[in-house]
């Protein structure tokens, strides 16, 4: 078995970022705010989003020359964890994925056009999934055909997060026998191209994107190695941000649950004194500590510019399943209240089930990890 790196580092800069992100998310995303947005069409608070842009968090992993602060995606994980913990709804992750895709695969002109705007708060997203629900991003059924100086798009994408708010979508298509990406400005979308989908996590806004009939200039296409690099960058960004957010969510649901166990009494004593519940919480704490350590390690590798695939897949498997387990036990440990819509444990359980399946569930990650680790 190949030996595994165990580095973790955390700069003063990251520590300050963590502190400010933690208090920002706690203040801006209390449970009442999360719930008030669940059934709002946009799904997020534009004022909070503007503040996130002002804080410079959207450009954290974008070079200074393109309007960012020139740090790494590893730093964005520091922000994603408290966002997950407080279930703060925003197109942060969607936009980060698009930024990372553009940085890895777009032309200099495309980067110069879009990245400064994304850093300022222009919403963007990625359209990588299709009806089959496969996590293999390199075999899209949707396609692009070159017609002179134009390309014509066919097919559709699903589970496109924050598409209605986005001004740019990075769409994966099959082109000329290989995977490619298309920069699709949303001003070019025909009416009814986006159809809202109903997803398990009600803090998310997901859309089905119909591509038939859309024509774009040929320059909108990213092909070859650049497309593969962009797909990989988006996937890695998704793994990292989902893992960080799930670890944060696990911390959040553990807090909600421990608070309840310290408040509610049954048979003459606080229910948290019952070992059956106490031990369940201790087990979640163990999972949380492991998950956080995996996330911090994967972020450290990315900051050092090293291959992080193994670390990211481990983090995704551990944190994704961890949040589902945390939400599951959270619901159960709340007893009757846990079965109601009013109990916040269900919000975390839904988030967990969303994140678990997003860009590869734990069994999928373990299967790929086995290939990476056990290769002779």
């Amino acid at each position: 078995m190949r030996p595994l790196d165990t580095r973790i580092h955390f700069s003063d800069e990251q520590a300050m970022l963590l502190e400010s992100a933690t208090s920002f998310c706690r203040e801006r995303s209390p449970s009442a705010a999360v719930r008030s947005l669940l059934h709002a069409e946009s799904g997020f608070d534009a004022g909070v989003w503007a503040q996130i842009a002002e804080l410079g968090w959207l450009g954290i992993a974008v070079p200074e020359a393109l309007g960012g602060s020139g740090l790494s995606l590893g730093h964005a994980a520091v922000i994603a964890e408290p966002m997950g913990r407080h279930l703060l709804a925003s197109p942060f992750t969607s936009s980060q994925l698009c930024s990372q895709g553009l940085l890895a695969g777009a032309s200099a002109a495309q980067q110069a056009l879009w990245l400064p705007r994304l850093c300022q708060g222009t919403v963007a997203s990625v359209a990588l999934f299709e009806d089959e629900g496969s996590w293999d991003l390199t075999r899209p059924q949707a396609s692009a055909q070159t017609q002179g100086a134009s390309i014509r798009l066919h097919g559709h994408k699903t589970l496109v997060t924050d598409a209605a708010a986005a001004e740019l979508l990075l769409v994966s298509v099959w082109h000329d026998g290989a995977p490619a990406l298309v920069l699709l400005p949303c001003t070019d979308l025909p009416a009814h191209a986006l159809q809202r989908e109903v997803v398990i996590d009600e803090t998310q806004r997901c859309y089905r994107l119909a591509l038939d009939g859309i024509t774009l200039p040929a320059e909108a296409l990213i092909t070859g190695e650049a497309a593969l690099a962009a797909l990989q960058a988006m996937r890695e960004a998704a793994w990292l941000l989902a893992s960080a957010s799930a670890a944060g969510g696990l911390a959040g649901v553990l807090d909600v649950t421990v608070d309840y166990l310290n408040t509610r009494s049954a048979f003459g004593r606080k229910i948290g004194s019952y070992q059956a519940l106490k031990h369940g919480c201790a087990e979640l704490l163990c999972t949380l500590e492991r998950a956080r350590s995996h996330v911090a390690h994967a972020a450290s590798l990315l900051i050092d510019g090293l291959d992080a695939e193994v670390a990211l897949r481990m983090a995704k498997a551990e944190a994704g399943d961890g949040l589902v387990q945390g939400g599951d036990r959270g619901v159960q440990f709340h007893g009757g209240f846990g079965f109601t819509y009013d109990c916040d444990a269900q919000l975390y359980l839904r988030r967990g089930l969303w994140l678990q399946a997003w860009f590869g569930d734990a069994a999928h990650q373990r299967s790929r990890l086995a290939e990476l680790l056990f290769a002779a």
Binding site: G272, A282, E289, L373
Partner: protein, 400 residues
Amino acid sequence: MQDLDEFRQQVSDWLRANRPTEPDFLLPESFMEVGSDAQFNYLRDWQRKVYEAGYLGMTWPAAYGGGGKPQVYQDIVNAEMARQKVPFVPNTIGLSWAGPLILEIGSEAQKQRYIRGMLSGDEIWCQGFSEPDQGSDLANCQTRAVRVADSSGDHYLINGAKIWTSLGQYAKYMILLARTNPQEKRYAGLSYFLIPMDAPGISTRPIRKLTGEYGFTQTFFDNARVPADGLMGREGEGWQIAMKTLTFERGAAGGQAGGLNRMHLGIEDLVELARRSKRDGEPAINDPLVRDQLVRFIIEAQGDRLCGARARLPALCSERPDAIPLSNKLRVTEHARRMFQFSSSLQGANAARWVGDAQAVDGGKWQRGYFNSFSATIGGGPSQIQANIVGERVLGLPKD
């Protein structure tokens, strides 16, 4: 750097040339499992050889028998030993707990008397903390020590019993926690002693473990007379000194003499076992279910290693600084137990075999390892107590 590289090479060569030949019996996993004279003699001879070569206690002061060298040399030796999977050195309680303690707070006479024999393995050490009736509650220690000065000198008379005394039947000395003040119910009445095991009135009785092997004793004190100069610190300071010993035991304080302290059997070895094992004519490691389970264990083991790295960064642990240290034993020992349990499923029908059977896979060390893994999930406070500690002290849940 040049020097260190040369040193590493020299150690590597020495270990290759001097490692003892494989015995025709299964070696114990750690000092807690030494159950036969053959095992004990084999390991003690190995410790003496390592010490005489200058590879043990390298950082301890030369005046007491150590090497007087910087830590980096011992680290290199330890790493080479782990890499070459040589046998462990058995005097763990001396080398890793009592030795560092004596060097830190012992008197000059104690350092002169104890350190050299501890390193050479001529004088084996054991620990008398746990008691038969107190389980995990160390502070409730009931073994009594009463000071008496008479014509035969200044002594303590010890009465009571200790349990789980590893190497009890081989030890020359014991670190003992006993109550000198019965008026003080818990911590304050305890004192800490270094006592000779051959003092009159001390007897041991072997305890047979679930593996069928021996390795622990119960130790009885019947008006045992031990010299008063064995008292560490002052009367009433026993609890603090015991806690200091535990920080050495947990490796948190450094200062250990070095050498391996157990036979390493980890996830890498399990993966290697899966490569060798067959399922339907194919290596077991090609079976998707085996792969999935192995990767689960790897993710957990890596998570625990990474927790160790993260614990060193306060900014990443600020929310609950105690979470990693206080959950460590629960995470690591339960992981090991489940991993050993799983190892049986890699052996097909041969999983039914046991130590001593000629066809047992790896001499039966996986099955024995599973049984012995309970020593870690139970010893030092069972997992269920650990989960209470995590729930109450880390998460702030109410006590029972």
